[in-house]
Subunit: 356 residues, 2 copies
C-alpha cells in the first residue's frame, strides 16, 4: 500500500496483516484458512428468518444479550462473563487496548498468530517476543517474570500444539495483577480449555471464535469469557470504538450455532477423525507432522521445501498456507477439511513428491 | 462501568459512548435512534439466500469487492475510491487512526455526533472543539487555520443543519495537505453531498452509512469514499484491526440495498414528506424547530423542558432522544418515522403540553 502525506505517524508505523488468500475467481480445494468444511448448523439456517431480515432497518442490540446468553448458558457462566464481537480479531483488539499500554507491555511467542503483531502496532504497544523452544513447545517459565500482559494462543497457530491448562494456571497464580489472554480459537479440537478456571482467576481472559468449530467464519462472531472486571474493561473499549459491533443476522446465527451442541459435536468428531487420517497419510509420505490439537496440521517434508510445495499445490488447485518466516519456512499448514478435500490434497502431494 | 486494576492507563482515559436506548422489553413508538421506519429493500430480503447461509462456514471476502463495486457504481466512482466497514462508526475509527495522531490534532464542533469524543479518546488524540455559532450554524472560517484533521458532520447531528458544499470546498482548498472528513450519515435527506468533489480533492474523505436512508441499521454497513491515497490509509488500519470486518450476509444485504435505487428514492421521498408534516405540527404546537436536512428534527418548546418532555413521552410509550448537555438541553431530537408513529408522537406531545 502507498504511503501518503495524509498518514498520521502512528498509521505509518502500522504493520497490516495479510490474511490467507480468499480467491473468488477459481474453485480451489481450499485448505488455507482453517475454515470448517461443513455448513453451519441447520438451526442457523432457520434462525435467519424473513422476519429478522424485515427488521434490518432497526439497530441490533448493542449488548448482544441473546448471543451472550447462549454463550453463557453453554459454558455455565453468567452473561456478565461474556462479551461478543465481530469475530475474535475484534475482541483481541479490544483486549490489547484494555490491558496493554504505557507501563503494561505485552508478551507473546515468536511463532504464533501473526495478527498479534498488527494489533500491537495499532496501539503502539511495547512487546516482548518470547521464542518457543526448539521443538515449538511453549514453556510458561519463559513468561513467569514478565511485567505485563501475556497472550498465549492455545492450541497455538500455526503449530497446532497445546499447553496444559495447569501451566496457564501457574501463570495466573504467579501474579494475580497480570492479565493472561488465552486465545482458544482452536481449543474445541483437542486443547484443554481454560474456561473452567474463570470463576477462580479474575485475571484470566479466554477468547474464542465461532469461525472454526461452529462453521461461522463468514458470520463473524467471536467472544471473550472472563471475570466481570475484565469484561467491563473490554466494554469500555467497545463503546469507544463501535457500540453496535455485531449485526442482527450474526446475532441470530451465532445464538443458534451455540444452541446446537449436537451438531457441533458431530462436526468436531468428523474433524478429529479426518485429522487422524491426514496425519497418518502425511507420515506415510515421510512428512514430519507436529502434534496437532487444532483443525489443521503443520507438516514438513525433507524432499520438498514448504514454499515449493505450497506453489506446486496451488498450481494443481489445492490451497494450503505457507509462512515465509524464519523457523517455519520448511512447513506448510493444512486445514483439516472434508475427506474428499483431504484425499485430493494427499493425492496431489504424493504426485509432487514423486516428481521431485 | 467499574474501573479495575487490570486496565491500561489508556483504557482508563476512555470516554465510552452511550448509545440511544434500545429497549427489548416493551413496544415503544421508537423515534430515538434515527432508524428508517421502512423495512429494507425487497432485494435485500432476496439477497440473503439459503445458498449464502450455507456458505457461512467460509470467510467473507476481506476486500468486500461486491459491496465496494455496488457503492462505486452508484456514485460513479472506482472501487479504489471505496472502503466498506462494519457500520460507519468503524470507518470513523479507522479514519481517526489513519489521519490523526502526534502533530495531527483533530477539530470538530461542540454540538455534533458525540461519538467523536469517544473515538478521539480511544486513540488519545489532541482535539480542538470549535463552538457552533449562536444559531447552531457552522462557519468554515472557524476552521480555516486549523493545523490538523477536520471532521464535519453534514448535515450535523443532532441539529439536522447542513453546510453548503462550497463551504467544504473552501476548507479543502485552503490546505491541500489537511484531510477533511465529512460525515454524511444523513446527507440523503437533503444535504449537499461532497461526493462529486472526490476526483478533484484528494484530501476529502466522505463517510456514509446504510443505517438511515437504506434501512440497514441492523445490518451494519458503512462506507468511506475518497481518493485512493485516503482509502489506502484506511486499509492500513483495517488490516491492523480486523481484516474480515464485514460478514457475508451484510455484504449480500448491503450490495442489494445499494442496487435498489428505486426503493431508496421511494423511502427517502416518504421521509421528506413526513418531515414536512412533523415540522408543521410541531410549529403549530409552538415549538421552535431547527431547519433539518436529516431524517430527524431538533425542536424545543417554551412550555416544557427537553428533559421533561422526553420523560413524559417515554412514560406514554414514545421514545425520543434527549441530550443532557449545555446549549441543547432544551431540545429533543425526534426521528422522522412513519406517519403512524409521528401522529402518535404529536398526539402525546399535545396532551403533555395541555397538562402543563
Amino acid at each position: 500500500m502507498t504511503m501518503s502525506r495524509f498518514l498520521s505517524q502512528e498509521a505509518e508505523r502500522l504493520a497490516p496483516y495479510t490474511p490467507g488468500e480468499q480467491p473468488t475467481d477459481l474453485q480451489y480445494v481450499k485448505l488455507n484458512t482453517n475454515e470448517s468444511p461443513f455448513p453451519p448448523s441447520p438451526r442457523v439456517i432457520k434462525a435467519v428468518t424473513r422476519a429478522e431480515l424485515l427488521k434490518l432497518n432497526l439497530y441490533s442490540d448493542p449488548t448482544c444479550a441473546a448471543l451472550d446468553g447462549a454463550v453463557a448458558a453453554y459454558y455455565e457462566l453468567r452473561p456478565e462473563n461474556v462479551l461478543t464481537g465481530n469475530g475474535s480479531d475484534e475482541i483481541l483488539a479490544f483486549a490489547f487496548r484494555a490491558f496493554c499500554g504505557q507501563g503494561k507491555p505485552v508478551a507473546f511467542a515468536d511463532i504464533t498468530y501473526s495478527f498479534y503483531h498488527a494489533q500491537t502496532a495499532l496501539f503502539g504497544l511495547e512487546k516482548q517476543i518470547v521464542p518457543l523452544r526448539e521443538d515449538f513447545s511453549l514453556h510458561v517459565e519463559d513468561y513467569m517474570g514478565f511485567p505485563g500482559t501475556i497472550v498465549i494462543a492455545n492450541p497455538n497457530a500455526p503449530t497446532g500444539m497445546a499447553v496444559p491448562r495447569t501451566d496457564i494456571q501457574r501463570l495466573l497464580e504467579a501474579d494475580p495483577n497480570r492479565v493472561v489472554i488465552v486465545d482458544e480459537a482452536y481449543v474445541d479440537f483437542g486443547g484443554e480449555s481454560c474456561v473452567p478456571m474463570i470463576f477462580r482467576y479474575d485475571n484470566l481472559l479466554v477468547v474464542q471464535t465461532m469461525s472454526k468449530s461452529r462453521s461461522l467464519a463468514g458470520g463473524r462472531v467471536g467472544f471473550a469469557l472472563g471475570s466481570p472486571a475484565l469484561i467491563d474493561a473490554l466494554n469500555r473499549v467497545k463503546y469507544s470504538f463501535n457500540p453496535y459491533n455485531v449485526n442482527r443476522l450474526s446475532i441470530a446465527a451465532g445464538t443458534a450455532a451455540m444452541e446446537d451442541a449436537a451438531y457441533f459435536e458431530t462436526c468436531r468428531g468428523a474433524i478429529l477423525r479426518n485429522r487422524g487420517w491426514l496425519t497418518g497419510e502425511l507420515e506415510a509420505l515421510g512428512f514430519t507432522v507436529l502434534p496437532s490439537a487444532a483443525n489443521f496440521v503443520f507438516a514438513k517434508s525433507d524432499r520438498v521445501s514448504g514454499g515449493e510445495l505450497y506453489r506446486q499445490l496451488k498450481e494443481n488447485g489445492v490451497l494450503v498456507r505457507w509462512f515465509d518466516k524464519e523457523r517455519i519456512r520448511d512447513y506448510v499448514r493444512i486445514t483439516v477439511g472434508s475427506m474428499e478435500q483431504l484425499v485430493s490434497f494427499i493425492d496431489e502431494t504424493a504426485k509432487i513428491l514423486d516428481a521431485v
